[in-house]
C-alpha cells in the first residue's frame, strides 16, 4: 500500500476540498450535480480530482443515498453454460448503465439461494434470480425489500423475464412429426425447476393437438452426464425422438446413443433447448430450440433498474412489454431428421 491519503490509502473529498479551498459539500456537489456549482469551482474541483487521482467511494455514497450501483445476479449452477449467456447479457447491460454485477451461485439448492439473496440484499440495488429454486413465497418476501427480477420463472407480482417457449416447442413437434416420429420423449430438468414443468406442459399440449405420443423421462441432473444416464430409459420408452430440457442433456443423450451405435438422426432424433455455445460443434450439429438467454439477462437487469425509485417503477413482465425478441425459435441442424429405421 502507498503512503495513505486516508486509512484505506485513497484520497477523499476532504482532500480535494482542502486542495481547492472549499467545503467538502461543494466538492460533493461539483461531482454529483455539477450544474449546482459555479463554472469556476467546478473546474478547480475537476483539476484537484485529477491531481489527487480521486475516485468517489461508491460504498460511502451508498450509505446516505441508499443506492449502491450494484445489482446481484444469482444463478443456480455456474457450471452450466446456459447461465454464461445470461451472465453475459446482464453484464453488458449493467456496463451500459454504469452498474456493476455481483455474482453468486446457489448450487441448485433453494436454501443456499435464499442465503445468497439475503446476503446480497443489503449491498445491492436489486437482485436478478436466474432459474430460481426458491419457493414463490420466499421470492415474494424478497421482492418486498428490493426490486427483484426473475428469469425463466413466473412469480405473482414479481418482475419476470421468460421467453415464450411455445413457438419453439410447436415448431419442434411439427418438425419431428413431419419426419415420421410418433412418440417424443421429454428429458426433464430439476424437480424444482418451474420452467421445466412449463416446457413439459407445453409439449404435452402440442403433442395432443398433433396426435403424437409423449413421455416424460426424469433425469438425475441437467448436465451431459444426466443425458447420458437417461439414454437407456429414453430408448426403452419406445420414443424415436427426444426434446430435452436443455442442450447439455441433449448432447449427453446424443453422445451415449452414438456410443451404443444408435445413429442420430437416422435411428433417433435429438432436440435441445437453449442453443448454448458449442451446441453446433457436435456431429451432427444439435437441433435446438434457441432461447434468447443473453437478452433475458439484459432484460432482467433493465427491469431491476427501472423498478428503482426514480424510474417509472411499475412491475411488469418483459414478455408483455412487446419484447418480440424474447421468444424461442427452432434451429434445425443435423441431430433431427427422417426416421430411417423405426424401432416400433
Amino acid at each position: 500500500m502507498k503512503s495513505a491519503k486516508t486509512a484505506s490509502g485513497r484520497a477523499t473529498i476532504y482532500d480535494v476540498a482542502k486542495l481547492v479551498g472549499v467545503n467538502p459539500s461543494t466538492v460533493s456537489r461539483a461531482l454529483g450535480q455539477p450544474e449546482r456549482v459555479s463554472l469556476k469551482t467546478r473546474k478547480l474541483v475537476q483539476d484537484a480530482v485529477a491531481e489527487l487521482n480521486f475516485n468517489v467511494n461508491p460504498l460511502a455514497r451508498a450509505l446516505p443515498t441508499g443506492r449502491t450501483g450494484l445489482v446481484g445476479l444469482i444463478v443456480s449452477d455456474i457450471t452450466n453454460p446456459s447461465y454464461f449467456d445470461i451472465i453475459r447479457g446482464a453484464q453488458s447491460a449493467a456496463a451500459v448503465h454504469g452498474t456493476t454485477l455481483m455474482l453468486a451461485e446457489s448450487t441448485e439448492s433453494a436454501q443456499t439461494e435464499a442465503i445468497a439473496a439475503q446476503r446480497m440484499q443489503p449491498s445491492t440495488d436489486g437482485i436478478i434470480l436466474a432459474g430460481p429454486r426458491m419457493s414463490d413465497p420466499d421470492i415474494i418476501a424478497l421482492s418486498e425489500q428490493k426490486p427483484i427480477a426473475v428469469i425463466n420463472r413466473h412469480v405473482d407480482g414479481v418482475d419476470s423475464v421468460v421467453p415464450d417457449i411455445e413457438p419453439g416447442i410447436n415448431a419442434a413437434v411439427r418438425h419431428l412429426a413431419a419426419q415420421g416420429h410418433h412418440k417424443i420423449a421429454f428429458l426433464s430438468g430439476p424437480d424444482q425447476s418451474w420452467i421445466s414443468a412449463r416446457r413439459w406442459e407445453c409439449l404435452v399440449a402440442c403433442c395432443e393437438w398433433m396426435k403424437r405420443e409423449t413421455q416424460l423421462i426424469p433425469t438425475t441432473a441437467p448436465t451431459t452426464e444426466g443425458g447420458r444416464i437417461a439414454a437407456r430409459n429414453v430408448r426403452a420408452s419406445g420414443a424415436t425422438a427426444a426434446i430435452c430440457y436443455n442442450d447439455l442433456l441433449a448432447i449427453g443423450l446424443m453422445q451415449e446413443l452414438q456410443a451404443a451405435a444408435v445413429k442420430v438422426p437416422d435411428d433417433f432424433s435429438v432436440v435441445g433447448i437453449d442453443d448454448i455455445f458449442g451446441s453446433d460443434f457436435t456431429t451432427p450439429a444439435l437441433t435446438t430450440i434457441a432461447s434468447p438467454l443473453s437478452e433475458c439477462g439484459a432484460a432482467a437487469l433493465d427491469l431491476v433498474l427501472s423498478a428503482l425509485p426514480g424510474s417509472d417503477g411499475n412491475p411488469r413482465v418483459a414478455t408483455q412489454r412487446g419484447l418480440h425478441e424474447l421468444r424461442a425459435t427452432l434451429l434445425v441442424r443435423g441431430s433431427s431428421g427422417k426416421l430411417v429405421a423405426p424401432t416400433q
Copy 2:
C-alpha cells in the same frame, strides 16, 4: 417495498438494540466478536436478530473497517469461454471464503480496463485481472492501493497466476513432429496479450530445439471468426500444423479448413490451447493444451485474500508456491495426427 424499519426498508442494529434493550455497540459486538459479550446478551441479540430478520449491511460495515468482502474480477472479454472457467473458479473459491465477486469486462481495451479497475478499486478488498491488457506501470500503480492478482501475465512485484505452458507446448511439438510435421504455424492472440507472446517464445524455442520450422500468423481477434479469417494465411505459410493461442481460434481455423476441403488431421493438424467447454464436441475432437483455468481463478482469489491485512500477506507467484496442478498438459484428441498428404 415493505413498511420500513429504516429508509432502505431494513432493520438496523439500532432496531435490534432497542428490542433487546442494550446499546448498539453491544449488538455490534454480539455479531462480530461474540466472545466479548455475555452468553445471556448474546442469546438475546440472536433472538432479536431472528425476529427482525436482520442482516448486517456489509457496505456500512465496510466504511469503518475498510473491508468490503468484495473482490473484483475483470476479464477482457466475457464472450470468451476461457473466462467462464476462470470466473467459475474464482466464484467457487469466493463462496468458500464468504466473499462475493464483482464482475467487470474490459472489452479487450486497456483503457476500459483501467477505468473498470479504478471504479472497482474503492468498493473491493482487491481485484483480479484476468489476462489484463493494461501496461505494467498501470498494473503496478493499481497494486499499490489494494491487493491485485493477475492471471496469465507476469508483472514485477504483483501477485500472479500463470500456469506453466511449457510442458504443454513441448508435448504438442513433440507430438506433431512425431506425426511428420516440419513446419508449425502459431495463430497469435491479441497484440497486448502478454501470454500470447510467452506462448510464441516458448514455441520458437521448442521448435528450434526440435529442428522444426515455425511461423507466426497474426489474427484479427481471438475468436472462431478470427480463426476462420486466418485460415488462408495459415495455408499459404506452407505449415502443415498449427498451434493456436486459444481453442476458439483453433475451432474457427478447423471449420474454415474443412469448409475448404482440407482434411483435418490428414492434410492439416490443429492444436488449441485451454480445453474450453465444447472443445471436445467438434469433429474431429480438438487436440488441445489444457490449461487449468478454473484453478487459476481460484488461486487468484486466494492470493488476493491472503494479501489482505491480517493474512500473512507476502506477494508471491502461485506457480512458485508448489501448486503443481497449475501446469498445462497436452490433450491429444482427433484434430492432430499423421500427415497423409503433405503440401510441400
